[in-house]
Amino acid sequence: QPAERVTLQLKWVTQAQFAGYYVAQARGLYRAAGLDVRINAGGPDIAPPQVIAGNRADVVVEWMPAALASRERGVPLVNIAQPFKRSGLMLTCRAETGIRTPADLRGRTLGVWFSGNEYPFLAWMARLGLPTNGTPAGVRVLRQGFNVDPLLQRQADCVSTMTYNEYWQVIDGGFTPQQLTVFRYADQGVATLEDGLYVLESRLSDPAFVARMGRFVRASMQGWDWARQNPDAAAGIVLDNDASGAQTEAHQRRMMGEIAKLLDTTGGGRLDPADYERTVQTLLSSGGESPVITRAPTGAWTHAVVDAAR
Amino acid sequence: MAEPVIAARDLSLVFTTRDGPVQALSQVNLDIAPGEFISLIGPSGCGKTTLLRVIADLERATGGRIAVNGRTPEQARLARDYGYVFQAPALFPWRTILGNVMLPLEVMGIPRAERAARAKAQLALVNLAGFERKFPWQLSGGMQQRASIARALAFAPKLLLMDEPFGALDEIVRDHLNEQLLKLWAATGKTVVFVTHSIPEAVFLSTRIVVMSPRPGRITDIIDCDLGPDRPLEIRETPAFLRIAQRVREGLRAGHSYDV
């Protein structure tokens, strides 16, 4: 029986953030499940919902805010699995600026990732009562590029970082953890769900597709489980798949270690509806000029696939 | 008189420009018989070039009628009835002298072997044998002008239209080419329409001289030039020659205004 084709679109460039999928691929877990999986790397300019709408992928890795936004824009994505339980997003500040608590942020310059990733930040600021429109009583916001340069070059007091990536670039830039103040969005109660697996709603009416996705999710979660237990080997597999040849082994090992802390492989990737509700509430309370979603979505997740995977 | 090669009736041409219309030709009546050598002479801007261009179908008359070999100028042009020599040589810089002279033959689909032979013969006629492989800019102005004459002769048109072909040449070279042209004309019986600024040149070459005057461009005089077919250079010092020259000069002066 020939293997069935599945194309997976990642959210970002090849790195340990996606180790589970590369491991499942490299260790033949997909093949064993009767699947021929193609993994396409992403990048800062790649919007996975656009890719899936253009029929260039069967399933995508996406953050929930962007996935919900695409639902409102006519691309009805549905979450079929959620390997990442916790958010790795944080705001990292230079301690010498005197920032100790969220209240110290008033009047500071902050680097923020936009492109749909700004909503947790906006929700947080709304909760703190800090305007983000540049008034002196609030904070000054910069659209942060792909790296942490604004912090190293003192153009910003704080920048956005992921626990598993940019934070370590700050450390590599010559800072010790003691010289940094770190706010985790999870700790501030404004975390949103990150890397989940999404498919187009229309295809879920096809039982064969649901079954195929079930096998895909199960194999992927096995991959994640293996990666969590063998971080160094998993980092090696990621490096083997890096076409740009720009990643370093040390950085990927460290990243794999941090990623492992965000995972929840016990439920087979089952989404916790409470996490979902918290994400929606955070997004709806964020305000901003162009809200990412204007009303609570319906039908944005399903357990049908994880159930089929058992 | 045989059927005229060129027959113009009340020919007129108005250029429309931004500043308003410019009357370049007005009420031109002219018959040219086969084998004639006609010179057009007149002050700058009187419409000599324009008249030649109308004959060649490079400009469309806005009034009157004109026939070339009994047909419209366009039909005559498509039938390749005439050869045209412009005031400047207009050689293509990326072609050798031979290549330039062969160009009309190429356009007209004449077989390759014949092309080269005919072009070489014409180059010899204008004293350019040995310069076939040179490029135009390797020749002096006079030589370039001669090459352009060879090019116009290459496909042996029965009618030659020449617009101040010898304007840029010094007196000695000019005399020489005048003699050559006269010989060619006598030998082949071509019809020639020739524009010039030089009175002696016009008198030396022509069977008839057409004097034009500007604003609007019209024919003021047509002077017969019956010096016979055999004209050595020395004829220019004879009283008959000087008399005709004087008549042309007077005709010219009459139509002249210094502000042109």
């Binding site: 460039v13 253009g54 790296n147 010559g174 010790t176 076409a243 740009s244 040849g245 | 207009a90």
Partner: protein, 288 residues
């Protein structure tokens, strides 16, 4: 030729000297901060040495860039994904494909415009407007849209490169095809030459200088286009991917070496076009 060598070398030397000064000046704060955090107080010479040897400088010193270039081209097998030669090749192939398509389209457009007057009036303003559209903004959309049509790999990148490079060619060739003076065109008319004959024997040869000027600009544009197209193509491979990855991981040296490689690539290609131009000019009369 040799007359140009000394001035170019002098200006190069001046630029390199300026560059070193700039490197010291721009990296000073970085080094000073790091030293202060470490509690050290180095003297001037040590400071200068450190500013020129930063692993992630604000502005790398020239020798650092050269060393990185050397390391990533000469010390690795060219097939390795870490070899800059490999990435240069990926970009080059897309750039050349796009260049070919863009030049063909630009020339065809110019031919059509020169022969059909209505086309110039109606299409030309839109072509100008099309060049004011930021390609980088459209690149991701183009790549996805083309992907939806089943086109992927080299082709989308080449199309973006072609989009950037057809414009200078088209503009230049319209000028070039109209370069023959009125007298030469009249001459062809007196022989009642066909449009095709006028094109091949007059317009085309007369347009060659414009063609080469346009080709050179287009070549540089094609390289830029290929690099731009590599950013949203998933940062897989190519100089664009290296730039992006370098930027993403704050690897200044990697950015600069990719940049230097890109400049080297374009300069070589443009130089080759210059040689071709000379060869053609020599065939068309050795004056040049």
């Amino acid at each position: 030729m040799s007359r140009a060598v000394l001035p170019v070398l002098t200006v190069c030397a001046a630029l390199v000297a300026l560059w070193y000064l700039g490197a010291v000046w721009m990296n000073w704060q970085l080094v000073a901060d790091a030293q202060a955090r470490a509690g050290a107080a180095p003297d001037l010479a040590e400071m200068v040495r450190l500013t020129l040897a930063q692993p992630r400088p604000l502005l790398p010193a020239p020798h650092q860039v050269v060393a990185e270039l050397w390391r990533s081209t000469m010390t690795l097998p060219v097939t390795s994904r870490r070899s800059l030669v490999h990435h240069a090749w990926v970009t080059l192939s897309a750039a050349l494909a796009g260049f070919g398509m863009g030049v063909a389209f630009g020339v065809a457009l110019a031919v059509a415009i020169v022969h059909i007057r209505a086309l110039e009036r109606s299409v030309m303003p839109w072509i100008v407007a099309s060049q004011a559209v930021p390609v980088l903004a459209l690149a991701p959309i183009v790549i996805v849209a083309l992907g939806a049509l089943g086109l992927e790999g080299l082709l989308p990148k080449a199309i973006i490169a072609a989009y950037l490079c057809f414009f200078p060619v088209a503009i230049g060739m319209v000028k070039g095809f109209r370069a023959p003076d009125a007298m030469a065109l009249d001459l062809m008319r007196t022989w009642s030459a066909s449009r095709g004959q006028v094109f091949w024997t007059l317009r085309l040869p007369a347009s060659l200088p414009f063609l080469f000027a346009g080709l050179k600009v287009a070549m540089a544009a094609a390289v830029v286009g290929a690099i731009v197209a590599e950013l949203p193509a998933g940062a897989q491979a190519g100089l664009g991917a290296r730039l992006l990855a370098g930027s993403y991981f704050g690897q200044t040296l990697q950015i600069w070496s990719a940049l230097a490689m890109a400049a080297l690539l374009s300069a070589t290609l443009v130089g080759l076009l210059g040689l071709a131009e000379r060869a053609v000019a020599r065939r068309m009369g050795p004056r040049a």
